[in-house]
Amino acid sequence: MTPNAYTIPDALRGKMQRYQGMALVVGVIGLLLCALGFVMSPEQLLRSYLVGYFFWTGLALGCLALLMMQYLSGGAWGLVIRRTLESATRTLPLMALLFLPLAFGVRTLYLWAHPGITATDAVIRDKSFYLNVPFFLVRAVLYFIIWLTLTQFLNKWSLDEDREGGQLWAKKLETLSAPGLLIFVLTITFASVDWIMSLDPHWFSTIFGLLILVGQGLSAFSFVIAVTILLAMVPPLSGVISKKHLHDLGKLLLAFVMLWAYLSFSQLILIWSGNLPEEIPWYINRLNGGWQWIGLALLLFHFIFPFLMLLSQSLKKNPKALASVAVWVIFLRIVDVFWLVQPNFDKAAFRMSWMDFAAPLGIGGLWLAFFLYQLRQRPLLPVNAPDLEKALAHGRPH
């Protein structure tokens, strides 16, 4: 096998460029609409922007987590999606830049940062040791430093491995991934408290960080499955990525769907049964005034539907069907983030703004364009990874 066997051929390259252009157009239009929205209602724009931003950043971060996970666990599934994961993590510098509107809008978006709120609200005053603007920004900078550092090394060593081969880089990547994942989990936990939980500054739930973490992993898994299936339709990966690989990926997707439902259910039943005044309002908002239909939709379509679909072995081995389920889950992930964010503001009744479409589309378009650009930079498989042959043989009939 030549080292360049998985370099992107010109036909695919052209296709990617076309899609990249389309995504960029969507992104730019979306962001222009966001700018218009900002002029009309900065409050609404920031909320919608947070939905889009948190979803797409979460997707990239989920990919970062999966990248480290697959180095630790080994296995064929990780090798065939590694380049997609890497490309997704390399969008994080863009996401750091896109954080700026939130950094500038923090006093508008977050109740605890409203001027004078600590004088009237005792709980927020008691929390101000953690929930204050300077500390919030310092933490955000810290998260990005950690995420970008991990991204940097994971990508650099993987490229070095492509060039030089040998066991050294694999060893280094594995050694970084264990503590890397540990620190990563902590940053996501606190970032989810900062960016999402603190939208309702009175509410708290100790499982929330894990729930967000698993949600991001689920988004990332769905995304890489969809991308991998698209890539497997054309050379160089056609015939290389097999049904067996898809089956493995499908099983892991099912596991993540179940894990998300398990954590969500645990949080709901414990808060429901405790019925404490500091916890239950969060669910009262979300299960009344029309929001309950979104909640029900999440139960039916974010859990039950993909769960039942993914139980089938033939579906997991059918590329089109599996990709459809994956895209479906991605869509429901956005709905979930929307349901986490918006009911904090529209407590009385369900309300949606056109900006709730514009912002996720705009950020998503830009993100996808950047992702496709990154995906084109390297061969589609880690050509010199020590276990590559084994991983590909895993999918072949014996």
Binding site: L186, S205, T206
Partner: protein, 460 residues
């Protein structure tokens, strides 16, 4: 500078089986422990000590039934003492067996083949110990059937909203599936023992237990299907059991109990303590029975890694509890945490942190993971730590109620200890008997690991 490793395995700690093993040697080695080996003095001594310890349980339970739960240290406000601590501890230990036998089977982790039989047996015995405590704690064990919803003339039903009732269903289902899974896994090996046995008694006994297994291709097909199905059933069960155990605490509104991280953190803690217990038992057994070629350092290394990983999840749980007790800005949460750390039971908290969080950090080092004596000591410390964790959760959350007038202390009595150590005796007695009368390692699954057994699949 790290040198490139030339070993075939990714871990580079040696193979799953020692050198020179073949089909015959594996069968002889494992079945020989049951069939040929003379009953050693060490085994008799071990069984004797365990059996004596078990008398504590009989005595403790006898006194308890005669006099009532007042012989224990429980009272208001601490109505849940050792009984619940021990229940959670034992049931948690059981979970590693299911994880090894079911989840690792589904994940195609063939290294589990050397340890799954033993771990499953451990699960059975641990669940047996655990199951006793709720019944003992009732005070009127002859009314235990009230736990089940049965139509009765009083028209009284259990409170279905209470997780204590869910526990009844979860634990009994779990025990049933574990037993079936364990027995189904034993059948091919029982047939091997039947075939190798030379004494009539052995032939008849193992023959009856083997249920007519002849090892035909059809048998194996059915066997594989049944194992995968049972593994698929056991996997959600193991999660649900400890989730419901965590609900026992978390659906209440007691600070220190009511926290949403409990379900995943309890499940991780259960697996953590269970793996520590597997290590605690496996290390001496492989030593005394000369099974180092079957349970290799690589197995110990893998188990140590799982212990470390689950231990880190547990550490994450502690950290969330700590952070949110401040972040919540709730007086009660804050007081609970302060009381847990610096109250009258503060020493237990710090001991727990030392045992459960600090000690396993040594497992980051490969040198520690492959050093058998040190690993044994760490596994013991983790076992103690996980018991302390449940003690801290149960006792420190209860003993300072919302009203200072109803504060109190819990002092376990001699009968608390008698029952606790008695169950350890019961557990060890069962383990000793198991080692003696049944193959403690799955013979046919070890055979599958041998190179001679690698048959190429036909081209589809």
């Amino acid at each position: 500078m790290i040198e490139p490793v030339e070993l075939p395995t990714k871990i580079g700690i040696g193979p799953l089986l020692g050198p020179g093993q073949n089909l015959a040697s594996v069968s002889d080695k494992i079945s020989g422990v049951v069939l040929n080996r003379k009953t050693t003095l060490g085994w008799i001594a071990g069984l004797f000590v365990s059996f004596m310890l078990m008398q504590g349980l009989l005595l403790g339970a006898g006194v308890l039934f005669l006099k009532g739960v007042g012989v224990w240290g429980i009272n208001i406000p601490i109505g849940w003492g050792f009984a619940i601590v021990n229940f959670v501890w034992w049931i948690g230990i059981g979970h590693a067996g299911t994880l090894i036998s079911a989840i690792l089977l589904l994940l195609n982790q063939s290294w589990r083949n050397s340890i799954n039989r033993f771990a499953e047996a451990m699960t059975m015995f641990a669940v047996a110990c655990a199951g006793m405590f709720p019944v003992l704690h009732m005070g009127r064990p002859w009314l235990a059937y009230w736990l089940f919803p049965y139509p009765n003339t009083m028209n009284i039903w259990p409170q279905f909203r209470s997780p204590l009732v869910w526990d009844v269903f979860a634990v009994s289902t779990y025990a049933t599936i574990s037993l079936v899974f364990w027995y189904v896994g034993l059948i091919p090996d029982l047939a091997t023992l039947r075939d190798k046995a030379t004494k009539r008694f052995h032939q008849v006994t193992f023959g009856a237990l083997a249920l007519g297994w002849r090892g035909s291709a059809m048998h194996w097909v059915r066997y594989e299907q049944a194992s995968l199905l049972l593994a698929g059933l056991a996997t959600p069960l193991v999660v649900s059991v400890h989730t419901i155990v965590s609900f026992d605490f978390a659906v209440s509104i007691v600070p220190g109990w009511h926290t949403t991280i409990f379900p995943p953190y309890f499940v991780a803690g259960a697996i953590y303590s269970g793996f520590a217990m597997v290590l605690t038992l496996m290390i001496p057994v492989r030593q005394f029975y000369g099974l180092k070629d079957l349970i290799t350092v690589r197995h110990l290394n893998n188990m140590a890694k799982v212990t470390l990983a689950t231990g880190l999840v547990v550490a994450y749980g502690y950290m969330m509890e700590l952070f949110f007790s401040f972040y919540s800005a709730s007086t009660y949460e804050g007081f609970m945490m302060h009381n847990r750390m610096f109250g009258p039971y503060g020493g237990f908290y710090w001991a727990l942190i030392t045992c459960n969080i600090v000690t396993p950090q040594f497992l980051w080092s490969k040198r520690v993971r492959t050093n058998v004596p040190i690993l044994f000591v760490i596994s013991l410390i983790v076992n103690v730590g996980m018991w302390l964790e449940r003690f801290v959760i149960v006792v420190t959350s209860l003993h300072r109620d919302f009203l200072p007038s109803s504060w109190g202390m819990y002092y376990p009595t001699v009968w608390d200890f008698a029952v606790f150590f008695g169950t350890i005796g019961l557990f060890l007695t069962l383990i000793f008997l198991f080692i003696r009368v049944l193959p403690m390692i799955s013979i046919f699954e070890i055979r599958m690991l041998l190179p001679a057994q690698r048959v190429k699949e036909p081209v589809k």
